[in-house]
Symmetry: C2
């Protein structure tokens, strides 16, 4: 917690329950400008943003989100073993909050869809094709910038992807040209019910290696 940027990063956790207070267009614009400033391969800045604040648009998307979440939820394994009681409690809190979001997405003050163009791109040379990655590397940093900027304004967000199950239906409902985009993320935003805080994560030292695999810090 040594500086305000680190503190914002450490306390940006998924928020899935929101108050009814709207977010302003100015707040949304600030977060989108932050998203847009993210790095992208070759500085192509491939993403498009669909901002939903009208009840009709939110309801249309919420319909498909609920269906997607139902299917996703049923596919999850029953968790029966936990490291300890606090791990179980954390898991249950997340499940309940995710369920709440699925049931109430239409009431979220704003929803932002991050769209990523479908571009087949695999450069090749005499030595063969070159896998230098997908556009994901150029879109998810923007999503994270968005969430951190929102946090700094007191606005909660969550990065969700289950809506991808109904990409075609959602994009059609919003008038997006067919076959040109996929949904990288759906991010609800609003003032948090509950509070920001440090979400449970394993220590980074457990997954850090120095100079050779297995050399622990």
């Amino acid at each position: 917690m040594s500086n305000p940027v680190i503190e914002a990063i450490m306390t940006t956790r998924a928020i899935r329950r929101f108050t009814a207070e709207p977010v302003t267009n100015e707040e949304i614009s600030t977060c989108l400008a932050a998203a847009q400033q993210a790095p992208s391969g070759g500085n192509v800045q491939p993403q498009q943003y669909l901002v939903l604040t009208d009840p009709e648009a939110k309801t249309a998307v919420a319909h498909w989100y609920a269906r997607a979440y139902d299917r996703y939820e049923r596919s999850l394994p029953e968790a029966t073993e936990f490291r300890d009681e606090s791990a179980r409690a954390s898991w249950e809190r997340t499940r309940n909050a995710s369920r709440h979001l699925a049931d109430h997405l239409a009431d979220t003050p704003a929803i932002v869809l991050f769209l990523q163009p479908i571009i087949p791109w695999a450069p090749a040379d005499a030595e063969g094709p070159m896998d230098i990655g997908r556009l994901d590397a150029s879109v998810y940093p923007a999503v994270q910038n968005f969430c951190l900027a929102a946090r700094s304004l007191g606005i909660g967000t969550a990065v969700t992807t289950v809506i991808r199950i109904y990409t075609a239906e959602v994009l059609a409902a919003l008038g997006v040209p067919e076959g040109r985009f996929e949904i990288a993320a759906l991010v609800p935003m609003g003032r948090p019910r509950g509070s920001f805080g440090v979400a449970p994560r394993k220590p980074s030292t457990k997954v850090t290696h120095f100079n050779q695999w297995g050399n622990r810090p």
Copy 2:
């Protein structure tokens, strides 16, 4: 520039030239803790970090990075048309800086590889398979957190992916178990020669739609 978090986000640009001053283990740890705090699907936190500060390890990776960048550079189209002179100058600056990084990666104070496990995962139910996305959504937010945390400490970074062309060779050189991971990003870090600042991006308003595709802010 309304608050320190937004300011850090807006002024985190790719830094590809570094002074010889080392980065400390404490600084690296702070950035990794920030990375680790990023959101991930189901909170699985799938990434591993390989931190290279030893000359031998950096030289091994720099060898493959230079080869990868050579191939990537040759595959780029010759840019002959630009919107204006400043667009051309920006393009040339980036090309030159990227070339510089490829030639001097071994001299970078630290290099962090973000590894992403190769996990085939496609949940399905009675209605069919569910494409809810890949692990990328769970790794690149961590990369961005890392870069922003570094920025707040005065440390420059750049998100690069060309090393993926030689994933197998690089991971073998660093003792990573074969076939289990891919490289999501290679991030050099050090004190910037030159300065932080707002990188050129198109305005987010050009790629934002309100409630229906094509409704401009």
